[in-house]
């Protein structure tokens, strides 16, 4: 029987994978992919709680809002990256270090 904990551990794994993607990739779009991993991990978490009867349907509703926010975030972030690309002519985030100390 698959329990709540299985889902939560999977969610943790996706979170860590997302973090690794964010930090290890220098391509801005890959970083966005990592963020999507983390958001999906969170979603999986709340849906798992919801379907196990904790918190009623609130978990699924929260997941819906999370998807909406992820979509907006992706749209705005990509627009920012396009600007970044227009200005620096690369998508390597390490080049965006004008604020270096």
């Amino acid at each position: 029987m698959i329990e709540l904990q299985h889902y939560l551990i999977l969610s943790a794994a996706l979170l860590v994978l997302g973090l690794v993607i964010i930090v290890s990739k220098r391509n801005a779009i890959a970083i966005l992919i990592g963020v999507e991993f983390i958001l999906n991990a969170a979603n999986l978490n709340v849906v798992a709680f919801s379907s196990q009867g904790i918190g009623g349907l609130d978990g699924q509703t929260a997941a819906i809002f999370l998807i909406v926010i992820a979509a907006t975030e992706a749209a705005v972030a990509l627009a920012i990256f396009l600007n970044f690309y227009n200005i620096i002519a690369t998508i390597d985030v390490d080049r965006g270090d004008k604020l270096r100390g």
């Binding site: 930090v23 985030v93 965006g96 100390g101």
Partner: protein, 710 residues
């Protein structure tokens, strides 16, 4: 009804701000100004109607209307956002809206052609809203919020022409100097909250009255002085006065509205509001600060040559009068002067703006002269205000100044040790009359010293002189028909109170019935309902300003005579010096060279602060920067720098090409290796994410392992 009406009147400028902030640029040149001015006039109309309603429903004695909505809950304790309306609120509210209306109208003319016209009115509207909120607030927290809001509006408006270095510097200076006062202000608020568990004024007074500070008199004094320091910052009193003269870099309507009529008076208003919790030592402190301020700044005003700076120092000096008056217990007189001063100082500033506008931006009074014929309306209104501030009888300024001086005389009569607290304002009155008449004569009469300025001078457009005329009418008439509420011993021994009349009577209605400083006297603990007994007032020197009864009638008469005499003396000196040429200003200056230099340099306060506070902060900042670099760049980079510096040093001293090259090469090597280390450290968002994630992971790891370890 009245609180609701005032809340509507309060929100109107906010509405103006909201519209202008989004559509200001689209609305454009005259529209934005007309919108803001129209809303402010509507607000003033509501305030006036409420004021007359108030007079109708209230015949003597204090009434407070309040309105609360719960705002923040801390535990089970609700912080209410409340509105408190008593007669002082009504008077202040009306004063602010009326003065602001005329200044808004004036600004439409003054700011004509400015490229940020709409933005100016956006800020002005926000300021109007904040100032009115400050007046309405019923708690220290509310006061503080709006206090900061008016401060930030002041910052925006002083630096309105931020392309000018001096303007943006002045804005920063005003903001930072005010922070000092505000810091102590919030310490005072926190002290009050911790001791009384309450932030509404009424609640604090009630708790203090019940003895929340019993046995902690020093703490109460400390809290009072801390709260007062908020006022010191805003009202530009003695140690923190340095920002106000520089604030004149802002557009002149801003100087008139914010830095003369309303915002700087907020400090005086605050002292008036917290008066009941001020202990006797705190009041003495306040009184002496006021005395120092009024005298010092009046002296500086004599030697200033910039028309707005003269007025700025005059403002500081007059605020000193109010603070001193409150400090000696002349509550009514001080706040009465606040209202009359707002009218005539706004008029003076608007007049100076009209002069500057007419002279194409010239601000130096040495280059003006003989402008009376060129701009008659400005000249006449300016003269009215000059006479009022000097205290010519039957003008508003005279009533309030007499009231203050009689309070001071009464105080120093009872407390002989504090005789200086009467001498200083009396001499100050003469100085005030002198420098104001000097200013008037130099600008509008005497000889035309700069023909270029004189030939091009012209009267301002109607949109600018109409507010001047309106304010002149107010300046003349606002003090008329005033009398304080009076006590009569009835036949059966009970005390009957006859209502006061006029503006001063209305303000007197709001006078606190109870105060810590009075409690220490013979007043019984269960404290009297109507105005406190005469004995109690005399004890703290609250010599009921201008009270017409008993021995105090004598004080009032004497004070009037002294004030008028001082005024006449000041005028006489000014005429002798600048009109008849009996006294030569140049010769006097030369003879009193050290004094003159001291005054022109404003007692070297800016230099003192630069040498102490600013230098210290800069050192601190340099230290912080050094520390930061150490942490961020790593020791390798630091050593590289050191090696470079040493290399340069030795290169210069030895001046040997071969050694020089070798050493420089080594230095560059070290520098480069430092750079390599630095590159790995900073600037990249991924590095930051990784650092952050590591810290979070460490915490999570610790929590996860916790059960296994223990």
């Amino acid at each position: 009804m009245i609180p609701y009406a005032l809340i509507i009147a309060w929100l109107l400028p906010l509405g103006g701000f909201a519209v202008l902030v989004f559509f200001g640029r689209r609305i454009g040149e005259p529209g934005a100004g007309i919108l803001a001015a129209g809303l402010m006039i509507a607000s003033a109309a509501i305030a006036l109607v409420s004021g007359f309603n108030w007079l109708g429903l209230n015949t003597g004695g204090a009434t407070t209307l309040s309105l609360k909505i719960p705002w923040i809950y801390i535990g089970d304790q609700a912080m209410d956002f409340g509105v408190r309306v008593d007669s002082l609120t009504i008077v202040m509210f009306t004063m602010v809206t009326v003065v602001a209306s005329s200044i808004f109208v004036y600004s439409v003319g003054y700011m004509h052609g400015d490229k940020r016209f709409a933005r100016f009115f956006t800020y002005l509207s926000l300021f109007g809203f904040s100032m009115l909120g400050l007046v309405l607030a019923d708690s220290l927290l509310g006061l503080f919020i709006f206090w900061e809001l008016v401060g930030v509006c002041s910052y925006f408006l002083i630096g309105f022409w931020f392309e000018k270095q001096s303007a943006s510097d002045a804005a920063k200076k005003a903001f930072i100097v005010n922070r000092v006062g505000d810091f102590l202000f919030i310490v005072g608020i926190a002290t009050m909250f911790s001791m009384t568990g309450n932030l509404t004024l009424e609640g604090i007074f009630a708790k203090v009255r019940e003895g929340a500070f019993a046995g902690h008199d020093t703490l109460l004094t400390f809290a009072g002085i801390c709260l007062f320091f908020g006022a010191v910052g805003k009202s530009a009193q003695f140690p923190l006065h340095v920002w106000l003269p520089d604030a004149m870099e802002g557009p002149t309507p801003v100087s008139a509205l914010i830095h003369a009529a309303t915002m700087v008076a907020a400090g005086v208003y605050l002292v008036g509001r917290i008066f009941p919790i001020l202990t006797v030592p705190a009041l003495h402190f306040i009184a002496y600060i006021g005395a120092i301020t009024l005298f010092g700044s009046a002296l500086i005003a004599i030697v200033m040559t910039d028309i707005k700076r003269v007025l700025a120092y005059s403002t500081i000096s007059q605020l000193g009068y109010m603070i001193l008056s409150l400090g000696i217990g002349g509550w009514v007189a001080g706040l009465f002067h606040l209202i009359t001063h707002a009218c005539f100082k706004a008029l003076l500033f608007l007049g100076s703006g009209s002069v500057i506008h007419g002279c194409n931006g010239e601000q130096d009074i040495r280059k003006m002269g003989k402008l009376h014929a060129k701009m008659p309306i400005t000249s006449i209104t300016f003269l009215v205000a000059t006479l009022a501030i000097s205290g010519v009888p039957f003008l508003s300024g005279a009533y309030s100044k007499d009231a203050m001086l009689s309070a001071m005389l009464g105080f120093s009569w009872v407390h002989r040790a504090h005789w200086v607290l009467f001498l200083v304002p009396a001499v100050g009155a003469a100085i005030t009359a002198f420098y104001m008449m000097r200013l008037y004569l130099l600008v509008f009469h005497t000889s035309a010293r700069d023909h270029h300025v004189h030939d091009h001078a012209h009267e301002s457009p109607r949109v600018m002189w109409l507010p001047l005329a309106f304010l002149a009418v107010l300046t003349v008439s606002i003090g008329w028909f005033g009398s304080l509420p009076q006590q009569h011993q009835g036949a059966s021994g009970e005390t009957a109170v006859a209502a006061g009349s006029g503006l001063i009577g209305l303000i007197a209605d709001a006078q606190p019935q109870w105060a810590v400083s009075r409690q220490s006297s013979n007043a019984p603990h269960g404290d009297p309902p109507a105005p406190p007994p005469e004995g109690a007032r005399a004890e703290t020197g609250a010599a009921s300003a201008g009270s017409h009864e008993g021995s105090h009638g004598g004080f009032h008469l004497a004070a009037t005579v002294i004030a008028t005499g001082a005024m006449a003396l000041g005028f006489l000196l000014a005429f002798l010096t600048y009109s008849f040429g009996v006294i030569s200003p140049e010769q006097t200056t030369r003879r009193l060279q050290p004094v003159y230099r001291l005054l022109v340099n404003k007692f070297y306060f800016d230099e003192l602060y630069r040498a102490t506070v600013v230098a210290f902060v800069l050192k601190l900042a340099a230290f912080g920067r050094w520390f930061d670099r150490k942490i961020l760049d790593g020791i390798a980079d630091g050593s590289a720098r050191w090696v470079t510096r040493t290399a340069f040093f030795s290169g210069l001293t030895l001046d040997n090409k071969g050694v020089d090259g070798a050493v420089n090469g080594a230095a560059e090597l070290a520098f480069a290796s430092g750079n390599i280390v630095r590159k790995g450290q900073t600037g990249r968002i991924r590095t930051y994410v990784l650092t952050m994630a590591t810290l979070v992971a460490a915490v999570v790891f610790y929590i996860g392992m916790y059960h296994y370890i223990y």
